[in-house]
Assembly symmetry: D2
Homo-oligomer: 104 residues x 4
């Protein structure tokens, strides 16, 4: 993951911008996996095999989310924390809420 | 969910067959959601908004998996359990392993 | 895990009875881990170290739940499935609901 | 949750210190719940009832972890981010790794 940067987290400097291509590649793979699960259902494949694929694509999406969250902490949250005050408190609340959604 | 049926769990009688259209509809929606996340990344949307969508599609896929598992228990596992013996033990081991993959 | 047994799932033949000592040992260990986390908080230990312990005890409890569920499927659910009818449908609904609680 | 503070994250100023009593209360309750599950196993209670309690205590511990993580972000990580440099990068890597352990 990239170093902590200080510049403000405006539109053009989201943390994930540096890893955009990698994120899109993983998201397209996940999209393909979901289509693959559809084909398994259409072909009346065995339930357990379909469940195995569903677990795989769910885990893949979780890993994308964790990578995005890491970038967000390193850039948007870190730069807001440097500024301190309400903006930082809001960014940290947002991050905690996003983490809670991921955990539950 | 449907009643427990006794017939053997051969290729044509997987539990989910009765809910195939509903499963395919939900999987196509999930596929669309993953494409939606791609567009958000392409448009440099805000990290937290992307994370919110990723959590939503992960949860949607989990619900599909739980529905599939329920059907599998009611049909394939239940009918194997009626037969007893090695086939039942194998089906139950498979089901437990699939549940563990979903939980972790 | 034990073989699938056919006898009815009355009070004395819950699946986990065969593994009761092992379950109690693992639950006592988890209890000790929770007390350990309390000591870390009392001693003002570093947050990340406490979080590491919390993840460990949460995972330990999940493994206990998965072992219990496996026993339940092999005994209570399997024997009910052999009987078929409403009892089986109810046991399967209960099992699916328990699995959903574990997954979410 | 408390406001973002700038002071360095040394031993005495961990984020959770302000909520120590609340954390200890919740951890003691979780300890009691684990002991309660032990009693259920000792009393040969019904598997599903035990699983329901196990899910409850697992979720309770997850909520404690999320509260601790929120405090950690607001204090240790935020103050390190203000300082920037290697310390910040390390704190952020630690936080991301802790989040990943919680999610998986």
């Amino acid at each position: 993951m990239s170093e902590v940067t200080g510049e403000a987290c405006e539109h053009h400097t989201h943390g994930y911008i540096e890893h955009k291509d990698e994120l899109l590649k993983r998201l397209r793979r996940a999209e393909g996996q979901v289509r693959g699960v559809q084909r398994m259902v259409e072909n009346d494949d065995y339930c357990i095999d379909i469940l195995t694929q569903l677990s795989a694509v769910t885990k893949a999406l979780e890993r994308v989310a964790l990578a995005l969250l890491d970038d967000h902490l390193r850039h948007c949250v870190a730069s807001a924390a440097s500024d301190g005050g309400d903006v930082a408190a809001e960014k940290l609340s947002e991050a905690s809420a996003a983490i809670a959604r991921l955990v539950r």
